[in-house]
């Protein structure tokens, strides 16, 4: 095995940047913070590329199978001779792919932010947080130990909290950051319990060992965890489902998706980072990392599949009705993550060599490029229009040609039009679904058509349609702005190239569940249906939104209740509010507050007032008169003498 020690630099560099900018940024690097952050991440990206090249092309393969390599490993906390929390770096196909994606997308975001966040009061702090975020995510994907993974998992949560609430003077941003943190934290409780269950029965927290023990049907651990049961369901299923709940929280799967649209309150490049490469794919990565265990437990995998498919469909429907462009993108993310999830879910009973697993990772890979491109493009649009609402836009293609082109490519990619990136990965997912479960395939196909529709609804509303002619947004207004600096355009251009080219990577040659490279074959006849549906979606969107007309509103009113429900996000937020405000607050919160105020505080106050009362009774003894003290002293001596003479024989 050759040396992979330099990988430690990939994720320690952002940490160093975070410390440097976080501690001294506001004083010494007020303007240069962006360059420092970008430069450090550029180094990380180059090192990731080197690692990927070295792993995939030089020495990762032994006898035609990609090996798992533990570059670094040391014991961090030793509980007992058997159980310890180790820290380490694992190198296998998915982790190498992930560090490449994370560092690359993060680099693009860093670069874009140079222009987008210019002149911000807390510019250095912003870059410090970005570095922290990147560090956490890189650490997460490289973890060898499930507890180490959990630590980085929480770090991701904290840094997303910091970034979503970056505009902390805005009440809505503060609320959104709290919501994101609480919802994901709540889900992480499930994750933690899942870890404890697997760790308890598996007897280890090391991911590799855990997988090895729990997947061999003869091992004592496997027998232990499958025979133990709770509420009639085996502990293995419980553990996996609970871990999936953690993953669903981070990946915004129904019903824990409510934080994602609100997370749009953060600066737009941050949304690109959260949605494309870091936070939301953490859940997918988690399931993929533990996939060998999931694949032997069919019921847990079915939950992953149904939740994923349902989230994909639900988010796509909601996305069709939203008017805030970032919210549309947020729901599209949720939908695409749903794709990745159910691709993992169908993988087990799927065809040759777990096609779904490869497809899911492939989609994660391509999605990172076109989704960050979409968000950065939206950022450029918002930067120019100073509004998130679609109705404030229109006809922008003349003013921002580069963004227009980039956005178009990204929309084509996400819609699954060949030969752009999304087509290939989505095709593989559909194929896997087709072989596994026809119903899921149908849902996926319908979602694909919807995706094409809402993405192009967005595209036409922003860049075509009638230019807005209002007092506040007259066209002269646009002339004052150029499209943005070169640092904003460059990432768009690079990502456009990636979105065009990423699909041609023969992904199954690199990433499969078993590590054995396989040939993926594309069936032309199979692709006809999805592509046709996507084109249909685009055509409908074009008809409705290319030019200003009143058809959309008429359709909306004819749909009646369904449209309102979709626009209101199917009232999931309302349900949560109802549950928390009416039920949790009244039935649990208030009694708990009453107990705290009256019983807990009351006990303490009682002890304090008792002490005060007794001391006020006896404080007269301390009179300040020397002779009184002498009298007490003699009294005491006399008393002791009496005791010693008469009682203490």
């Amino acid at each position: 095995m050759s040396n992979y020690l330099y990988i430690i630099l990939i994720f320690l560099l952002p940490l160093a940047t975070f410390l440097l900018l976080g501690l001294f940024g506001r004083k010494y690097f007020k303007t240069s913070a962006g360059f420092i952050g970008t430069l450090s991440l550029l180094t990380s990206t180059v090192l990731s590329l080197k690692a990927a090249y070295q792993y995939f092309f030089i020495d990762g393969k032994v006898d035609g199978v990609y090996q798992k390599i533990e570059a670094i490993k040391f014991t961090w906390l030793q509980f007992s001779p058997g159980i310890s929390i180790d820290m380490g770096i694992i190198i296998d196909p998915i982790s190498v792919m992930m560090i490449l994606v994370v560092s690359f997308v993060s680099l693009m975001v860093h670069l874009f932010s140079l222009g987008y966040m210019k002149g911000e009061e807390r510019f250095a702090t912003y870059y410090a947080f970005l570095s922290l975020f990147t560090f956490s995510m890189l650490g997460l994907v490289l973890s060898t130990n499930i507890f180490q993974l959990y630590i980085f998992w929480e770090l991701v949560g904290v840094s997303s909290f910091l970034l979503i609430g970056f505009y902390y003077q805005k009440a809505s941003a503060v609320a959104a950051s709290k919501k994101a943190f609480i919802v994901t934290r709540f889900a992480d409780l499930g994750f933690l319990i899942g870890i404890l269950i697997l760790g308890f029965y598996g007897g280890t927290l090391d991911i590799g060992t855990l997988i090895q023990r729990l997947t061999s049907a003869q091992s004592a651990e496997y027998i232990g965890i499958t025979t133990a049961s709770f509420l009639g369901i085996s502990c293995l299923t419980w553990g996996l489902v609970l871990i999936f709940i953690g993953g669903a929280g981070k990946s915004a799967m129904f019903p824990l998706h409510i934080w994602l649209p609100d997370a749009m309150e953060g600066p737009t490049p941050v949304s690109a980072l959260i949605h494309a490469a870091t936070m939301v794919v953490a859940g997918v990565y988690l399931v993929a990392r533990l996939f060998p265990i999931y694949s032997i437990e069919e019921s847990a995998l079915h939950i992953v599949m149904y939740i994923g498919a349902f989230s994909a469909l639900l988010a796509a429907i909601i996305a069709c009705t939203q008017t805030d462009i970032k919210r549309v993108l947020a729901y599209s993310t949720m939908s695409q993550i749903g794709y990745m999830m159910f691709a993992l879910g169908v993988s087990q009973n799927g065809v040759e060599n777990n096609l779904g697993f490869t497809a899911s990772m492939f989609h994660l890979f391509t999605h990172a490029f076109f989704k960050s491109l979409l968000f950065l493009g939206a950022g450029a649009v918002i930067h120019m229009v100073h509004s998130n609402e679609m109705k404030d836009m229109g006809g922008l293609r003349k003013w921002m040609p580069v963004t227009h082109f980039a956005f178009l490519i990204a929309c084509l990619a996400i819609a699954g039009i060949p030969p752009f990136a999304g087509f290939f990965s989505k095709e593989e997912i559909l194929l896997a679904a087709y072989h596994a479960d026809k119903m899921i395939y149908g849902v996926a196909l319908f979602t694909a058509a919807l995706t094409a529709f809402y993405m192009f609804r967005l595209y036409f509303s922003i860049f075509w349609n009638a230019p807005v002619q209002t007092e506040s947004h007259d066209n002269a207004h646009h002339h004052h702005h150029s499209e943005g600096t070169m640092t904003m355009k460059l990432p768009l251009i690079i990502l456009t190239i990636c979105a065009m080219a990423a699909g041609f990577i023969p992904f199954s040659k690199f990433i499969t569940l078993s590590g054995t490279p396989t040939e993926s074959h594309m069936d032309i006849t199979f692709s006809i249906a999805p592509v046709l549906l996507a084109i249909l979606g685009i055509a409908v969107a074009m008809k409705l939104y290319k030019n200003a007309n009143d058809i959309p509103s008429r359709i909306a009113s004819s749909m009646g209740g369904f449209y309102t429900a979709a626009k209101g996000k199917f009232y999931v937020d309302k349900v949560y509010l109802f549950v928390t405000k009416k039920i949790v607050f009244n039935l649990i919160g208030r009694p708990a507050a009453w107990i705290d105020k009256n019983i807990v505080d009351g006990l303490i106050n009682f002890i304090a007032s008792l002490t005060a009362w007794i001391s006020s009774l006896i404080k007269g003894i301390q009179s300040g008169r020397v002779q009184n003290y002498a009298l007490y002293f003699f009294g005491g001596v006399a008393g002791l003498s009496l005791i010693f003479i008469y009682w203490w024989k």
Partner: protein
């Protein structure tokens, strides 16, 4: 000659001296007088030491040594006490023990 005075008489004298000292200690307000009362108490103890030594262990000298030791200590104690009294007078313009009662609850 020696045996004409019994031990009890001497103990009676020392007890009387002790309680006279106690009485002075608790009733006088002048610090100098209080100091004098303390000296009386010390001396009553001295008498006890010497008397017990003489009557019970005539061959030994331990009690006498103790008495001498207490006299020495008493001298030092008097010096310290008078220093305190002088300081008190400087700060309070009085050596009445009732006037120095600030250190209370």
């Amino acid at each position: 000659m020696m045996n004409s005075v019994p031990l009890e008489h001497i103990l009676f004298v020392s007890t009387a001296l002790f309680f006279i000292g106690m009485y002075g200690l608790f009733t006088r307000r002048n610090l100098i007088t209080i100091l004098m009362s303390i000296e009386l108490i010390l001396n009553s103890v001295n008498i006890n030491f010497v008397a017990f030594n003489k009557y019970l262990y005539p061959a030994k000298l331990d009690g006498v040594f103790f008495a001498i030791f207490i006299i020495t200590i008493a001298a030092a104690e008097a010096a310290v006490a008078i220093a305190i009294i002088i300081n008190l007078y400087r700060s309070h313009q009085s050596i009445d023990v009732e006037d120095a009662a600030e250190l209370k609850f």
